[in-house]
Symmetry: C2
Subunit: 187 residues, 2 copies
């Protein structure tokens, strides 16, 4: 890995599918903020974006973040504070990408995960080695609900292979999927 490859992660709440394949904006959940922030911090990612176009959700997330960054939570649990310090909220994917361009001076390459294989699907070891040898920033996208929409997946630079366990069952929570993928790419 280059001394410090710039890697960003975003949890996308829009556009994602619901159970009946409609494009929706899903709700932000408290544990998605905490679990994924702690995981992103463990693997030393640069920022963790929550992407939601719903203004009230952004206000709610900011309340939670302020509690842990500056309120009672900051003194009660400073480890939580340092994880949540890397969290940011953006209203859409374009804003997220612009933010990374502003920080790093370069457009990030987009990596997504999907439940099926695509022509451009890439193994974890190849992806790991590409990141290690690149000076490009990378943005890893994870979908909530029933997953990222087809246009987002098809527009990405890379699609990671689905996580395969020991059986046929393949319905991990997004929190588990993020944990496993960050470990495979950055441990």
């Amino acid at each position: 890995m280059s001394e410090k490859a710039k890697v960003y992660i975003a949890l996308v709440h829009y556009p994602v599918y619901n159970k009946t394949n409609e494009v929706i904006a899903s709700a932000v959940t408290n544990l998605d903020i905490h679990d994924i922030a702690r995981c992103a911090k463990t693997y030393d990612l640069d920022k963790y974006y929550l992407v939601t176009p719903i203004e009230e959700q952004g206000i709610l997330v900011n309340k939670i973040l302020n509690h842990w960054r500056e309120g009672f939570g900051a003194s009660y649990n400073s480890d939580r504070k340092s994880a949540l310090d890397i969290v940011d909220i953006k209203s859409d994917l374009l804003d997220t990408i612009s933010d990374i361009e502003n920080i790093s001076g370069k457009k990030p390459k987009i990596i997504v995960t999907a439940a099926k294989k695509y022509d451009k699907s890439i193994t974890y070891s190849l992806m790991k080695s590409e990141i290690a040898n690149s000076d490009c920033p990378y943005l890893l996208l994870f979908g909530t609900g029933w997953g990222l929409t087809k246009p987002v997946i098809e527009g990405a630079d890379h699609v990671l292979e689905p996580i395969v366990g020991r059986g046929d069952y393949n319905h991990l929570s997004v929190r588990s999927a993020v944990s496993i993928i960050l470990d495979r790419l950055f441990s």
Copy 2:
């Protein structure tokens, strides 16, 4: 791996430490049930035990399980049903171990995770290969709250090395830790 190594996982709510190092019984949370069941099912483990001595907590867990196994949830989301089918509740660790002995006819070897290294600490690759070549059942213990108590860790057959990411931060949620460890041992 032997054709189907019998591996069990338990999420321990007692005895665990709280923030001030007292031994407590922690509360069962809904997402610990779901996320870890889905992950255990993905890696084809045999059973996922929730260990709590608090009777009311057991009743609550059973209500949740019934909703997804037999109630509205079973038809709404059958993938969730099949994950939760492997969940069981036990009041303590001895009961959990007895259940495994009843099922498999052998006492399980106990594997725990800990934040520091012990004399008997073992790497993930060695543990993976031991399980692959053993016909013993294994029970993986994970602690909630501030972690498994010292006597539980010292009484285990194996202590897995702490998960190290890319930085100094090492405060994963138990849901993330379970996900990463199952992937390292069984993918």
